[in-house]
Symmetry: C2
């Protein structure tokens, strides 16, 4: 070892000991002749003293030290002079009188300072990631992430789960997102795909009798990256046999409770509330509601069923609905602020946004003449609007109206500081639809994935293609603070049912066998009932840091163009490499 | 939960309890009217009793049950009738009188039986991996592997190591093995590479100040697969700052000790013996010696320096050497067996293999007339040959002769049962050469990788290209039972030294910057001295199982053609997928 102690462990107990430390020059202060240097390593900071009275040579060398030089020193631990101790630092009672100094590696002036407050562009942070990761904030984030993984692993191991590694060079089954492909050199013209998730392998492991599987595993999706998505991401993947939804909920709640208990020391009450997908959409306009605040959506369709206001009337005639949120205390919003909301609403897909202010227990508006007093009173009562409130109304196709209001609800809550960031809301969303109709391809597709079981009571609807949209899946999402943290389902475990579902989503027998033949085959040999869940670990970790970007919990993230600015991946490769892989570039 | 207990936990304490079990029909025995069924799950086996006297209907259903049907039963736990208990089974004191039976999923007759003794081809095992993994032997292997990982992780966490995930979509740096490439859709004409190891990222993490990193991580090499290699493999990757070789040895010995202590309950003595690469080659003819037995190579060059035997004489004149092993007790080998050894020797690269039998304290042979008595006695003494022994001699270029004898040594030891499989030998091999000369490309290449530091005393040889071959690396391998289990080195941490090494292996500045510019750049900003090691986990796990193929500790391995027989990966993909990736197949 090049050191006897780390820079974080010395205290009054070590006084008069001769020690050796190694680390980075963190800060330097020259007080007259005496030079103070804070030496930093992964564990903390210790104050070094270079006094020309002790050694003129070493003092001279210390003069040359600059920020981020890597040094090794030995010296004597002594108590800091009275009044100069630093109670904020674990090592704040002591300092080291340096007797020997070696520069292990010098450093140029870094492109930015190692403290969080410095404003640095994302590009610079990513290019010089090795400097960025030296920041205490980033060090903490990466260590936090490790602790979360460790809590998860210990919890699952105690419950007899087995971590099993599944392959990364797998088969392309282009259902869902786009695959990353890997050309095979040994099998000309063939390709592997990087896994979007270990879904099929974990199901196969259940068929193999492993009973309780987990894996913390990298997954890959070649998507057009929206803000804060990464081409590779990590999930905690879990699968169990002989269980139903309640077993998954209980296990997951234990996992989440454990992290909240051990990281921010919060007792998260269980069981988590559950809400059906349909209800989530109606009350919050989203399948991942943030329930840390109210402002729920109300349905005005009934209150306005006789409306004479033409736009609303037309909507109702076309089978649409009229929905509103009540923005408490927002009647004071300026016209330009309200116009901003109207623009936002349109961006979210609304044809328009009507609004009423509540004054003297009455709704007033630029369109209030089109509404009778009874109607307005009924609207007001439905929305529980009081003086000073602002009602925002969307009349449109149900799904669109709810979605628009769900988004506005979040915007207003953020704008008004209605979200207590110290509060955390955990919520199960259940009973998702099994299928969604893809208008473009004119076919039914799986809402989750085609291995999801359908609700027992809805199996009969599989006979009738008019009822497909009404079939509920045995799927569930765990939503924390309005973020989808985990998603899973009870799976299909019989060949017959799996084939039926494949047919409905338009996979004929040949296609189904080509892609998923091994799963159908496996189901012939005694597949147990099973189900599971997968937690998005990048996203989950951000709940515990002062940032909402997953880039701050990933050591080496990529940009939105899926580029690593540090290494310059992806890069050009030699033609000889491509030749061996039997491929050619098409440009 | 679909069960109240697992099939492994019921015992005499549960007698008279009503229980629900779920699992597979493992075995069925019909005793007259009564049907006995062993139900199996991941935790054990329980005996079920179907008596027509209890329920005629259920008994009838039980008649239909076949091997590997998935069933759920409820019934009463009772003590097995006296004399029918099975002390070998944890549940052997009890049985369950079945009162309710549900078939959760039927099964066809599996392609092979779920017991290890059945002889099944590798192809069939891999194609029906879900059946193969049901074997108790395979279940144990996969669980063992998980336990090893868990022991490693706990050990490292206690020592403040942080597990940090490094990217899988990285940059191609074709030094070493061939990369698996991944075409980038978003960056036309560019490619990612799957990592051969996280080497550069872990070094960057040291530059970032993480101090102690580890990761259990998948790595990829697109090699022509030799027997028992896999295109993807898992390593425990470790890196530390401010350390030297002894720190790595101590840490690694703790890791290995922990596994031997917890898995087969063996106290592995530490420190492990260390041997320099040169000595390993001279004594064992290999850089991964199996030291569980002797039969070390002896050097006869001195004893035969005046030899008149023409072949030997020619060899010595060309600068070669004469080496031998003494195969104890093998003088009784038949001529055909000896001819077999000669063939083997030629296969290993020998031009010939001479032999002497020791009889009446004398060496006798078909060539003994070419040797004087004093010479023969000197040879005999050097090899410590006694009556009944067989000396095998190779006279050739040093490296070749040693290699041939090293291989023969192993063959004979295996043939003669000289290796005690219950014994384990751990050994550090150190001081590898830094460079090797590649005759084909007429250039020096890195023996380990170009980031390896060279021995302090040998730095001066970097000035003189005639001395390159003599430069020792600060690298080390951990060899267990003759298998290379881990490999690592102290790394270069200054830009100047790294550039010097790149130049020696023929990378000009432009090439070096293109491939490794980010590392050279990082070294400018205060890189600490660091080093590390990586353990091959697939190979390590095989030490603890009854097999020497890594396929038996990997859930879903590939064949030597890098094919997954279960899923048929790699496979054809749609042309539309390739088009999006800007590539075309060349066939």
């Amino acid at each position: 070892m090049l050191r006897s102690h780390t820079c974080g462990e010395l205290n009054a107990k070590h006084i008069n000991e001769e020690v050796t430390l190694a680390g980075w020059v963190h800060a330097r202060r020259d007080h007259g002749e005496i030079i103070f240097i804070d030496i930093r390593d992964a564990y903390g900071i210790t104050q070094l003293v270079f006094d020309p009275k002790d050694s003129r040579d070493i003092h001279k060398e210390a003069h040359e030290l600059k920020s981020e030089y890597v040094i090794r020193i030995n010296g004597l631990v002594r108590r800091r002079p009275s009044g100069t101790d630093n109670p904020k630092l674990p090592t704040g009672d002591i300092e080291i009188v340096v007797r020997g100094l070696t520069v292990l590696n010098p450093s140029l002036t870094p492109p930015f300072e190692i403290n969080q407050s410095a404003v640095v562009s994302d590009e610079t942070r990513l290019k010089y990631r090795y400097i960025d990761l030296r920041k205490p904030y980033m060090q903490e984030n990466i260590r936090l992430r490790h602790r979360i993984n460790s809590i998860f692993r210990n919890f699952l191991e105690k419950r007899h789960f087995v971590e099993i590694e599944t392959p990364f060079l797998t088969k392309s089954t282009p259902e869902g997102a786009r695959d990353y492909l890997v050309p095979s050199r040994l099998n000309m013209g063939k390709f592997y795909a990087l896994p979007q998730s270990p879904q099929l392998f974990k199901q196969i492991l259940m068929v193999s009798g492993f009973d309780r599987y987990f894996q913390i595993v990298r997954c890959f999706r070649d998507e057009d990256l929206r803000k804060d998505r990464q081409p590779e991401f990590t999930q905690l993947d879990v699968e169990m046999s002989f269980i139903d939804e309640d077993d998954i909920f209980e296990l997951s709640e234990g996992l989440i409770r454990g992290v909240f208990k051990n990281i921010p020391n919060i007792e998260m009450p269980t069981p988590f509330p559950r809400i059906k997908h349909r209800e989530a959409m109606e009350r919050f306009g989203t399948d991942k509601p943030d329930t840390r605040f109210g402002m729920e959506i109300v349905n005005l369709t009934d209150a306005l069923k006789e409306t004479k206001f033409k736009i609303f009337k037309n909507t109702l005639e076309k089978g649409g609905g009229i929905y509103a949120i009540n923005a408490k205390g927002c009647a004071k919003y300026s016209l330009s602020k309200i116009n901003g909301l109207i623009d936002k609403a349109k961006e979210y897909g609304a044809e328009g946004l009507a609004y009423f202010k509540c004054e003297n227990a009455k709704l007033v508006s630029n369109i209030d003449k089109f509404f009778g007093d009874a109607e307005k009173e009924s609207m007001r009562k439905t929305a529980l609007a009081e003086d000073g409130d602002l009602m925002l109304i969307v009349a449109q196709k149900r799904e669109i109206a709810l979605g628009v209001l769900g988004s506005l609800r979040l915007d207003i809550a953020r704008d008004r500081g209605m979200i207590d960031e110290n509060k955390h809301s955990c919520l199960w969303v259940t009973d998702f639809p099994l299928f969604a109709y893809n208008e473009e391809d004119k076919r039914w597709v799986s809402e989750h994935h085609p291995f999801t079981a359908c609700a027992e009571e809805d199996i009969r609807f599989l006979e009738d293609n008019k009822r497909y949209g009404a079939i509920r899946a045995r799927s569930y999402d765990l939503v924390i603070n309005g973020i989808e943290i985990a998603s899973g389902s009870i799976r299909i475990h019989t060949r017959e049912m799996q084939e039926r579902i494949f047919k409905i989503i338009g996979l004929n027998d040949e296609e189904a066998n080509k892609r998923f033949g091994f799963l159908l085959e496996a189901f012939k040999y005694g597949a147990p009932p099973h189900g599971g869940i997968a937690f998005g670990l990048d996203r989950f970790a951000t709940i515990f840091i002062n940032s909402n970007t997953i880039r701050d919990v990933i050591a080496f993230p990529k940009t939105q163009k899926a580029v690593c600015l540090m290494t310059d991946a992806p890069s050009d490769v030699d033609d000889s490499q491509l030749k061996e892989l039997h491929i050619r570039k098409v440009t």
